[in-house]
């Protein structure tokens, strides 16, 4: 059976995040924690493969004990198992240290439940926004990576091949790759499902598996946590909001309003920039 690992992160709900004007850092206190938005799209694609071909879906995350809740949410949607990698020694990790620990976790998951055929990650997290952890894991596991995937076209189990479409800045790229691969998901990839009632019931009683530093025999302690994180935040600041002039088109009827709007648009440089004639 296929074995798919989905990497998720519990993040503060970005819709409710504010920035402390004095320290320029995120105010995390009292902000609800959610599963990183893009990760849910990765999970959904894994679950679709499970529905169609049958697969074992293992969800992993690194974080504090409270991240169990995020794993339970994934289990409610249909994941088979959730693994929380949690230890004070892992705290303060940047993307380099995080991808190291997650790669080790995936190797341990392989030892426990069998070889991994596919790994899904979100394209980036809502709190860190780097998009580096997915590619970092792929490099460490020496696996092909398909980032920014907007469409999962097909999976051929016999040929051990996937075809996906990547969304790039100047177009799309259709790629065929051999398993195993790591895929990072965009939000247009799919629409994450709502958990079924039996799923919710299972998740309500589910206790995720927790692995600490002691569970990894080959762990290099110099590569984890703050010690293993060379990233230095030298400065943070809040960008000034851009001033935008708003004009209201107010006319008696739709046709007049549209005409008015067009006239005003053509009085600007915008049509030229956009190449309208």
């Amino acid at each position: 059976m296929l074995h798919i690992v989905v990497c998720i992160k519990q993040v503060p709900d970005s819709r409710e995040i504010r920035i402390d004007p004095k320290t320029n850092t995120l105010i995390r206190q009292g902000v609800p924690a959610i599963v990183n938005y893009y990760d849910l799209h990765g999970l959904e694609e894994a679950l679709r493969i499970k529905d169609e071909f049958g697969a074992r879906v293992t969800v992993i995350t690194m974080g504090p004990p409270s991240a169990e809740k995020a794993l339970c949410q994934c289990v409610s949607m249909g994941a088979d198992e959730g693994v929380l990698v949690s230890d004070r020694a892992f705290a303060g990790a940047d993307t380099l240290a995080t991808s190291y620990v997650l790669a080790l976790t995936i190797q341990k998951a392989e030892d426990t439940w069998g070889p991994v055929d596919m790994i899904f990650c979100g394209k980036q997290t809502l709190d860190g926004d780097t998009g580096q952890v997915g590619p970092g894991i792929a490099c460490r596991l020496d696996m092909d990576q398909l980032t920014y995937v907007e469409l999962f076209e097909s999976l051929d189990i016999e040929k051990q091949e996937v075809v996906v479409r990547r969304h790039l800045e100047d177009g799309v790229e259709r790629v065929r790759a051999r398993l195993p691969v790591l895929i990072t998901a965009l939000d247009i990839l799919n629409r994450p499902r709502r958990a079924s009632l039996p799923g919710v019931l299972r998740a309500a009683r589910y206790k995720p598996i927790v692995w600490t530093t002691n569970d990894f025999s080959n762990l290099d302690r110099s590569k984890i946590g703050l010690k293993g994180s060379p990233t230095i935040v030298s400065k943070t600041w809040v960008p000034e909001p851009k001033q935008v002039n708003t004009e209201y088109v107010d006319s008696a009827n739709v046709v007049a309003a549209a005409t008015d709007l067009l006239n005003r648009l053509y009085a600007t440089e915008l049509p030229q920039k956009l190449g309208w004639s």
Binding site: R194, A195, S196, L197, P198, V200, L201, A204, R205
Partner: protein
Amino acid sequence: MADERFDVIVVGAGPAGTAAAYTIAKAGLKVALIERGEFPGAKNIFGGVLYRKQLEDLIPEFWKEAPLERTIIEQRLWVLGEDNTFQVAFRDGRFQDPPNCWTGLRVKFDQWFASKAEQAGAVPIYETVVTELLRDVHRVVGVRTDRVDGDLYANIVIIADGVNSLLGKSLMVHREWNPDQVSLAVKEVISLPKQTIQDRFNLEDNEGCTIELIGQMSKMAGLGFLYTNKDTLSLGVGVMVSDLQKKRVKPYEVLDSIKRHPMISRLIQGGEVKEYSGHLIPEGGFDSIPPLAGDGWMICGDAAQMVNAVHREGTNLAVTSGRLAGETAIAAHLRGDFSFGTLDDYNTAIRASFVHKDLKKYRGVHSLLGFGDSEKLFDKLPESLNEAIYQMLLVDGVPKKDKQKMAMRLLRDAAGGNLDLLRLGIKGWRAMNG
């Protein structure tokens, strides 16, 4: 359909439903707690006062761990005139220990309360809407939810789905509201620095104060409130829906005018509105309580109209009714009988409790909320009372006896003559004394 069967399904994780689920789970029965909000408390609001007694019956010394705001040591009543205020207040340090009541915010409190039910073994099913009751002929046997494979079966369903109880309606025990049976409360949570609140309300540490407001509700029957939380204030008004209809006033307009009142505006000055919410409150009281049980079901809390509008108590009644429904469910489980015959014990328990007695005491209050009288009681009399007191306290050479007459005349005129003043007085006295 879920393969799993429960002993009891509780619909609604407000104070009533959670109290029921907690009681049942502690007895070791299998209970599911279904809530439509993202988490318990996400969709719940109340004025903001929580009392000790009823919750303590359920969870001893709960206040040592529950997220509460301030311990109320002072209660004020303000009768608002247009730019004057008649004030009564009572403060007593004894209210601090043992605490009598607290201000609270439901978003935090309900989450905590539900977590206690979960710890006791209740199975949480959140973000899930119960769309209908499943029935076997006339017997309720489970619920249908809006999730895939969403049918769930149990021996008993406890309905605690709030003021607009859709399930109550489906059982025909809950009619559509009459506008004069329900008030609409709107509330703002306004944030201010902790120290500012303590200075403005003369408080220290976790001491709290409540102010009930009467008068200046856009000429409608309504009451307002201003409560102190840790670093926020809860300011709200509740007005009869029938009055809103007749006067064509929007609820937030009433709240806005209260916020502009000179006595209120200085207390909330500089504050930032963090939350705005609105909620229906059942005001029908005793006479609108529906049948409380049937074959396979019981109903409690707001869904069963259990609100004591006079004493701003709703949460109390909800918690107690939930606990009693829970205890009845446990007894029914032991007996293996889930018919009306057994579940009607819940009805008997409610009748023996303060819930029934308090609501019965104030059954006449509802009649004061009718149009006409309400305008006199809630608008003209407060205005005249303030004017009368102003005249009494103003030293301007007019003899005191004449002043007294003038004051009485003001009140009489507001009531619509001597007879009406007497009638309102007697009616009010009867309503309050039951």
